[in-house]
């Protein structure tokens, strides 16, 4: 079945990827969501929209990001060639900015003056605060009170950029609660406010739109790997929190059916412990944050708290497209544990002089596992979704180093 699908025709008009996706939001939100979907559709038909995006990608974000052959990592594994897509070199230090640039340009077209967003580790929050500064918009970032406590430098970066950071105190006081609060705010401030969702999850059109803004990752990889290797890669690997960096890498290759794609979830303390962030590995279909998708839930359909050493993966849901790709077996989803990710952090740092985000370490870790068992003519492209400077405190704490 997988072979006959044209992936470019998904989602359908209502945002469905097979049974997943859709708009599962309250009526209070529906008109807003439909307006965004409508505005986005119009924008994609206007060539100047993509031109504007491209302008900021090149001159502001610093795109294209390099596709870097990780020689020492490859040698260490002794198998397939490992390439790293260097999204860590983007302005603000992660892939997140691709999406923020796209959405702020949309919000501008819609005449919005106030931007709200959720953030977990603060990476999306910083990216949003950044584009709000650049486009002179009011900016309110919702962030779990617990996350605020453990990500202070990012909180201060957001404040410096002129954003207001509002603590979400309900529930687990982490990312999912920040999303809840942001949606509540949106409903209450219909007229002037745009909700800039930070990953390829949530209600339609976010999974599609966020994905589209990130496909620049995969498009660049396609061109770069041809330049460097004169052929396409054999395997693509990316970490999945909400799934935006992964789908951005995968999407331009989905129709190349011979290319394998692997999404790497956070196994936290181990899938068997339940303390993880791996809905695709240890979750089931459900409805969360506006979308039908795999989620972490108990027998009664209550959402479980997610656990991961990397705040950016710490989410009990996942973008709908990934749920679909899993079910139709177009992509494979595995999980990597906290301690494996930390080990990989050291390895990448020591071998390549690159401090990877802990999120990205999950992807590299799995790539290293499979590279070993592949022949040296094979190519793996791993998305290095962000830089690890933000994680130095976490790693130090783990290693028992006092900063």
């Amino acid at each position: 079945m997988t072979n006959s699908i044209n992936y470019n025709s998904f989602p359908d008009k209502k945002g469905h990827f097979g049974i997943y996706g859709g708009f599962f939001v309250a009526e209070t939100l529906m008109p807003l969501i439909l307006k965004v979907a409508d505005a986005y559709e119009k924008a994609t038909k206007d060539p100047s929209f993509q031109e504007e995006i491209d302008y900021y990608f090149k001159h502001y974000v610093g795109r294209p990001s390099p596709l870097y052959f990780a020689k020492r990592l490859t040698e260490k594994c002794g198998g397939a060639k490992i390439y790293l897509k260097r999204e860590d070199l983007n302005h603000t230090g992660a892939h997140k900015i691709n999406n923020s640039i796209g959405q702020i340009l949309l919000a501008k077209r819609m005449g919005k003056k106030r931007i709200i967003a959720e953030t977990g580790a603060g990476q999306h929050g910083v990216a949003v605060a950044t584009v709000c500064a650049l486009f002179d918009m009011q900016c309110v970032i919702f962030m779990g009170a617990v996350d605020i406590e453990r990500q202070k430098p990012n909180v201060f970066r957001m404040k410096l950029l002129g954003a207001e950071v509002r603590p979400s105190k309900s529930g687990s006081a982490t990312l999912k609660d920040a999303i809840n609060d942001a949606m509540r705010d949106w409903v209450a401030n219909v007229d002037d406010t745009y909700y800039m969702f930070g990953t390829a999850a949530g209600p339609h059109p976010f999974p599609m739109m966020v994905r589209d803004f990130h496909t620049v990752i995969g498009r660049e990889v396609k061109q770069q790997i041809i330049e460097q290797e004169n052929k396409l890669p054999d395997v693509l690997v990316a970490c999945v929190g909400g799934g935006s960096n992964a789908i951005g890498l995968f999407r331009p290759f989905l129709n190349n059916k011979e290319i394998k794609m692997i999404g790497v979830e956070a196994a936290g303390k181990g899938l068997e412990t339940g303390l993880h962030s791996a809905p695709l590995n240890d979750g089931s279909a459900g409805i969360l944050h506006g979308s039908r998708t795999y989620i972490m839930q108990d027998d009664d359909g209550q959402i479980k708290n997610a656990h991961s050493i990397s705040a950016g993966l710490n989410y009990p849901g996942i973008g709908a497209e990934h749920s679909w790709l899993k079910d139709i077996e177009r992509a494979e989803y595995v999980a990597v544990k906290d301690d494996e990710a930390l080990k990989t952090f050291s390895e990448v740092t020591r071998l390549e002089g690159i401090l990877p985000a802990l999120e990205s370490c999950h992807a590299v870790s799995h790539a290293m596992k499979i590279a070993k068992n592949m022949t040296s003519d094979k190519i793996i492209v791993v998305n290095l979704s962000g830089r690890g400077d933000k994680d130095v405190d976490t790693v130090a704490k783990f290693m028992g180093v006092d900063l």
Binding site: F24, M30, P31, N180, M183, R184, V187, A285, D300, G301
Partner: protein, 268 residues
């Protein structure tokens, strides 16, 4: 369409007054107290009863109802016990309509078919699933219909004339008009705004119209009762439970009923 909702609105019409719909979260602050409140609500003046199915992530709700959900979950509430509670209530009250209100995931997890069957059996009359808009409702409408349950839809300020017919197309029971911009417990709309809104809805539907506008005082009930077919009071009741942490079950039940009594709606 079940008969209880229809009958109740017809009776209210005959009495010449609007109905009072109370909202409480099932299992808040615990199963027994919540059941006790439920049982006494009709006598205190509730014409229809909305019972919340607690959910961990109630996106459309404000602080008061979020916390009610948390209390209920903490006390061990789940979907099956919500239905149990309705069953027990139905042992003594065959007339008062009960509408369950909740989010889709617990229902989805339970299984929509099983849920519709069990809910009907327990004596539920209608269902409001906050995060299922008409666009996604098909999968619910069929099993509900099969079990004679009404699917009640929300209409809001922002549901414009173009969108209204879509919302109303499969609506059953009554129309639940959310007059406030934002989440439950947020700022109230003006009387005038409500009047205009109800008038607009009237153009499109013959179903009774219930207005939720976050009433906090009996005075407010008096002021707006006549603007619609029914008035919903939610956060204000839930807040009483929240504020009664130190009290005994009996005292909590008493306080809630005392408050509901002050809301009871007289003839126009």
């Amino acid at each position: 369409m079940t008969e209880r909702i229809k009958n109740r609105f017809e009776a209210l019409k005959k009495e010449g007054r609007s109905g009072l719909i109370t909202f409480t979260t099932a299992g808040d602050p615990d199963f027994e107290t919540s059941l006790e409140i439920l049982k006494s609500l009709p006598k205190a003046g509730a014409d229809l009863i909305e019972l919340g199915i607690p959910f961990s992530d109630p996106i459309a709700d404000g602080k008061a109802i979020q916390e009610a959900s948390q209390r209920a979950l903490k006390a061990g509430m789940n979907v099956k016990r919500v239905l149990d509670m309705v069953s027990i209530f139905r042992e003594n009250d065959k007339e008062t309509p009960i509408i369950l209100m909740g989010y889709y995931n617990p229902v989805y997890k339970y299984g929509v078919d099983a849920f519709a069957k069990d809910a009907a059996k327990a004596g539920v009359d209608g269902l409001i699933i906050v995060d299922v808009p008409p666009e996604e409702a098909d999968e619910l409408l069929i099993p509900l219909k099969k079990n004679n349950l009404d699917m009640i839809f929300l209409a809001t300020q922002t549901t414009d004339d173009e969108r209204l017919p879509k919302v109303l197309k499969n609506a059953g029971g009554f129309i639940y008009y959310v007059s406030i911009a934002g989440i439950t417990g947020a700022a109230s709309a003006s009387e005038d705004a409500i009047k205009t809104a109800v008038k607009r809805l009237r153009k499109y539907t013959k179903l009774p119209i219930a207005v939720d506008f976050d009433i906090k005082t009996p005075k407010q009930v008096k002021a707006v009762a006549n603007l619609a077919d029914a008035i919903v009071v939610g956060s204000a009741i839930v807040k009483i439970i929240e504020d009664s942490k130190e009290l005994s079950k009996q005292e909590i039940v008493g306080k809630v009923l005392e408050f509901v009594k002050t809301l009871a709606i007289d003839k126009k």
